[in-house]
Structures are given as C-alpha cells and as structure tokens.
C-alpha cells in the first residue's frame, strides 16, 4: 500500500463543508442566476409541444430541403420524424430536442467569444485548453452531484451538465477556424488599415464560419449523447424512456427510445452538415459541390 504521507481527511472535509456552505448560503442566488436558462428551456419545450406535429415535420423537412437542395435529406428527415411519431415518442423527442437546442444555444453564446479570445493569444490558449480537456474527460457524475446539491434535481443541473460536456468542441473549433484563416489575407487587411474589429467581423469570422459550424454540429451531437445521464436527474425526454426500459427490463422500450435518440442525432447532424457545406462554397473555401 502507498504510505500515508499526510492526513487528507481535513482536506476532504473542507471541500465537503465548503460545498455545503455554498448550498446553504448561495443556493438561492445561484438558482436565481440560472433561472433565465430554465425559462429559455421551458419556452422552447412548451413551444415545440404546442406546435402541431405536422407543422414540426413540415418545417424540419423544409429546412432539410433548403440546406441540401436534394430530395434525399428531406426524405431521411421525414422518415426519422415519422418513426418518432409512430413509436409514440413524439412528446419525449420534443423534450429532448428542447434540452439539446437550449444547451447548444447557450454553448454558442459562451464558446464563440472564448474561442475568439483563445485565438488571439497563445497564453490564453495555454490556460483555457486544459480546462476544456478537464470538462471533456472528468466523469460527468463528478460535477453532476454538486450541481444537483446546489440546484436540486430537475432541468437546471441537467442543462448545466449538458453544456459543460458539449461546449468544448465549439470553443476548440472556433479557435482553430480563426487561427487557420490565411495569414496572407490577414496581413493584407492590416496593410489596408483595418481596425481589429473590422478584421475580426469582416474577414476572420466569415472565413472561419465553416469550421465554427462544424463545432456547432459537434456540440449538438455531444448534447444528445448526454440525454440519458441528464434524464437521471430529471430532464425527462427520450433518456428517461431508456432509463425506464433498463429499470423494468423492458428491452423494447429502451431500444425504441434509444433509436429515437439516434433519429434525432441523424436529423440534426445531417442538416447542420449540409448547411456547413453550403457555407463553405459560399465563403469560397471550397468549390460548390455541383
């Protein structure tokens, strides 16, 4: 056995007590701070549930058509949505979609500025990159438990856990995209006297947009892969069906709900990818695929 060098129990106790103190004294404030997120999530969920099913299908199939201009993708999206409806998973699918969309939106708002900041300084990058590694590798239960303690079981800790897990790829790809913009073009903008913001918004971000969109795609996929864990602490949705299937040893319930998650993943993955390709040819990074 490894010899005991010093007693770690006080340290552990300090951390536990510290968390308890935060829960006791700051719980209310933190909950209030997260309230807007909850409102956003509820808003999106209520909206998706209130909209008639055929309208949702119509809109998503339409978006698929706009993004690809071919019949294959809309057909695939239609098939996936009909599967969700036929298998009686519609309501859960909407709940899960709402969680994923909220997490993605929040991640976009937070990650892109962080990515921009990272791309501008190697030092910032050196500090942020390990944090991102930690967010992606730390088992989610480790931070799930404290968040549940602070916010109580429900949608907020589920949402926060999803964001923590799903945001890093977007930060990384924003940073990568901005750094990969042709240095000759950036030099030209300087030579013509462009200000830092003119360079960022006029040239750098537009040219990095395809890469940033690939990051959004990754974030949606990561968010979907968190739904089962999120449902353990009260997020509901398709993940909850999977959990119930496991709990009741109902293989079919777990299987269909799991396939439902896959169906959602296919829809969002293919549609964002198609938009990415379209954007690439529009930005001129790649020739149009025609």
């Amino acid at each position: 056995m490894f010899p005991e060098i010093f007693d770690t129990r006080p340290l552990r106790r300090a951390i536990d007590d510290g968390l308890n103190w935060v829960v006791a004294n700051w719980g209310g404030h933190l909950e209030a701070a997260a309230y807007p997120l909850l409102m956003l999530l509820r808003g999106i969920e209520d909206f998706l549930v209130a909209v008639p099913w055929w309208l949702v299908i119509l809109v998503l199939v339409g978006v698929a058509w706009v993004s690809s201009r071919r019949w294959q993708l809309p057909a695939l999206v239609l098939g996936a949505l009909l599967f969700l409806g036929v298998m009686d998973l519609w309501r859960d699918a909407m709940t899960t979609t709402a969680l994923m969309v909220t997490a993605t939106l929040t991640a976009v708002v937070v990650s892109i500025p962080v990515g921009v900041w990272m791309s501008r300084s190697t030092r910032v990058r050196g500090m942020v990159a390990p944090v991102l590694d930690l967010m992606q590798t730390l088992p989610s239960f480790v931070y799930l438990i404290p968040t549940v303690m602070v916010f109580g079981p429900g949608k907020i800790p589920a949402l926060l856990a999803t964001i923590v897990y799903a945001a890093p790829p977007l930060v990384r790809l924003t940073d990568l995209g901005l750094r990969n913009v042709d240095p000759a073009v950036m030099e030209a903008t300087r030579a013509f006297g462009a200000s830092p913001s003119q360079r960022l918004f006029g040239v750098q971000i537009p040219l990095a947009l395809p890469t940033i969109l690939a990051g959004v795609n990754q974030t949606t996929m990561m968010a979907l892969s968190m739904v089962v864990i999120a449902s353990m602490i009260g997020a509901g949705g398709l993940g909850y069906q999977v959990l119930q299937g496991i709990g009741r040893l109902e293989v079919s319930r777990g299987l269909f709900a799991g396939l439902g998650i896959v169906a959602l993943a296919i829809i969002f993955d293919r549609v964002t990818q198609a938009f990415g390709r379209q954007l690439q040819s529009r930005v001129g990074v790649q020739e149009a695929a025609r």
Binding site: V185, E187, A188, A191, F192, L207, V283
Partner: protein
C-alpha cells in the same frame, strides 16, 4: 523610361533600419553594434538578423526595386515601410512623416490613405467578389458604398478585368487574381505603392505581360513604387533604381545600367553574369557621338540595346537622337556586340574562336 531625376524629392527614407528577430533583440543589437558578425550573433544568441543597418532614399515618382535572393530580408524590408513589422532600430520617414512615431489610430489612417500594397500570394478575400475585393481599401477608409463600387469598377476596367466584377477570386487564374490585387492597391489612389514579389507567383509569359502593364500604368500614374523581386531581369526591366540586398544588408544602390556595368562586389557579379545585358545597357553609353550623315532609322539615346538589335537586320547604321529629336550620334551592330562582349562578366579565358568567315 525616363532617367532618374536628380531632384531631392524623397518619398520614402530609411535610416539605419535594423531588424532582429528573437526574444531579446536589444542584446543582439548591442553585439551587432560592437562589430560581432551576423552568423556569430545568431550562433550565440539564437537571434536572426533580418535587416542590418539599411539606409535607402526613394525618390518620388520612381520605381525603386529591391532585389535579393530568398532570405536576403527584402520582404522584411518592404514591411517596415508601412510598419507591418516594427524595426529594432532606425528611422522610417514616409512623405515627411515619421512612421515610427504614429500611434495605432494614426498608423491605421496612414495605411488607409497614404500607402497601398500588392502581395506575392495575392491575399484576396475568398468570400468577397472581385469588385468587393477591389473596393476593400476604400470600404475601410469609409468611402460611401456607391462611390467605392464606382471607383473599383473603373480600376477593374483599367487592369483589363471588365466583366469579372461579380466573380469570386478563386475562379480566376493567377494572373487575373494579381490584376485584382493590383486594382485593389491602385483604387486606394495613394502616392506610394508597395509591391512584394507581386509577379513572382505568375507564369513567365503572364509575368512579362504584367510588367509591361505596370510600366504602362506608371507613365500616367507617376506613383512611387517600391518593388521587391528575386528576379534580376525583372529588376532591370522595370526599375528606375535598384538596390541589391544580401543577408539583410544593402550591397549596392544604383541605376540598373550601372549595376550591370559596374557591379560592386562578387555577389552582384554573379547575378549580372546570367542577365540579359542588352536589356540593361542603354544606347547612349555605347554610341559613337558626333555629327554623321542622317541615318534612315533612328532611336532615342535613352533606348536600350535590346530595342536596337532587330533594326540591324536591314541597316548597317542606326542613328541616335537626343531628347529634342536631333541626331546626336550613330550606332553599328559591331559596337553593340562589342559592348555586350566586353561587359560579359565571364573573363575571356578561352580565346574567342574566330570561325572562318
């Protein structure tokens, strides 16, 4: 091309500009000032000397060519003029203003209004159409949209790209892309244009076409052009004055002809050896002065040997005229050949084989 006017109208002046790349340039600079050689400085401190005490005066209305091999510091040099690179030491005066004293805002204003640049790799913005690329500098300057598009369209026409306004740069050939780059710089309507190996990435035929277009434009525009190249022939063709750069230090600054006829050191001789001397030597240098019977054909004294040579196909003598058009001398094919042979850098070690003729 006109001879260099001797007026002291200096557009760009560099004084003792030194650039050292590395984390502690001051220390390397001190060593350099103490007389330590560049290689030793690099070996001891790991600092690379990019430019070593470069002083140049570039007159208004000139095409001033900086010629050097890769790694000679020529691209570093041109970036000092608009301060894309900060010098370690020295002074940079453009149009009477000290560029190094400008704060960020003043520097941006300076780049927007006084100096334009053309790049080796074109550096066009792939997400903008040709006309939007050409109008970019004016957009940054804050010119109204309709006005800047109108001016951009005019320059697109001047460089011969009319009809391509809405095209994306990627869909153009290399030569066309660089025409866009040139139009983008000229649309700024600045007195000074920096051209960093602007034609080096182009095919030889396209390159020579672009050189001629530049000379043609220069006749009406009369801008101060600082042109960087590694191609000595190109330097001779377009330069009013040439500076040869090696290892970050200026080797010789002179009129093209003078460089060919009197290279300052062995490094420059090496360039001169392979060069088309007929392009560099002017008729005035080798003609027979005096009054002769009027010749059927005549050329200007400022013409180059290159231009006279074809005339000898049908004529023994070609007259040479002064600036006002009167004949001031004459020239024979023999004289031209002698001149070209004499100025060949290779010493005539092997006896010239005189074929039975």
């Amino acid at each position: 091309m006109s001879q260099v006017s001797s007026t002291n109208d200096v557009a760009i002046s560099l004084k003792g500009v030194t650039k050292i790349f590395g984390s502690d340039p001051q220390r390397a600079l001190d060593m350099l000032r103490r007389g330590v050689s560049k290689t030793e400085v690099q070996a001891e401190t790991g600092h690379v000397v990019g430019l070593d005490d470069v002083s140049l005066e570039i007159e208004r209305g000139q095409i001033f060519v900086v010629m050097g091999l890769s790694g000679s510091g020529k691209s570093t040099l041109i970036r000092h003029v608009n301060r894309l690179i900060e010098p370690t030491a020295g002074e940079i005066i453009v149009g009477g203003d000290n560029v190094l004293e400008m704060d960020d805002a003043a520097l941006r204003k300076f780049r927007q209004t006084r100096i334009a640049m053309v790049f080796q790799k074109f550096a066009l913005m792939p997400h903008r159409s040709v006309i939007e690329n050409v109008a970019y500098g004016l957009e940054i300057r804050g010119v109204r949209r309709d006005e800047r598009l109108e001016r951009a369209a005019k320059w697109i026409e001047t460089v011969g790209l009319k009809g391509y306004e809405k095209t994306r740069p990627r869909q153009l050939s290399g030569g066309q892309q660089q025409r866009v780059g040139l139009a983008r710089a000229l649309a700024m309507d600045t007195d000074i244009v920096l051209m960093d190996e602007a034609f080096s990435a182009l095919d030889p035929l396209i390159r020579s076409g672009m050189q001629e277009q530049l000379l043609e434009l220069q006749q009406t525009l009369n801008k101060t052009i600082l042109f960087i190249t590694h191609d000595f022939d190109e330097a001779l063709k377009i330069g009013n004055r040439i500076a040869v750069l090696k290892d970050g230090a200026v080797q010789q600054v002179a009129h093209p002809e003078e460089i060919v006829l009197r290279p300052a050191n062995s490094h420059i001789e090496e360039f001169v050896r392979d060069v088309n001397k007929a392009r560099a030597i002017h008729v005035s240098t080798i003609m027979e002065r005096g009054e002769f019977e009027a010749c059927e054909l005549a050329v200007q004294a400022a013409a180059r040997c290159e231009e006279v040579l074809p005339l000898f196909a049908d004529h023994r003598w070609v007259g040479v005229t002064g600036e006002s058009g009167e004949q001031i001398g004459r020239l024979s094919a023999t004289q031209v050949i002698k001149a070209l042979a004499r100025y060949s850098a290779a010493p005539p070690a092997a006896p010239v084989v005189t074929e039975a003729a």
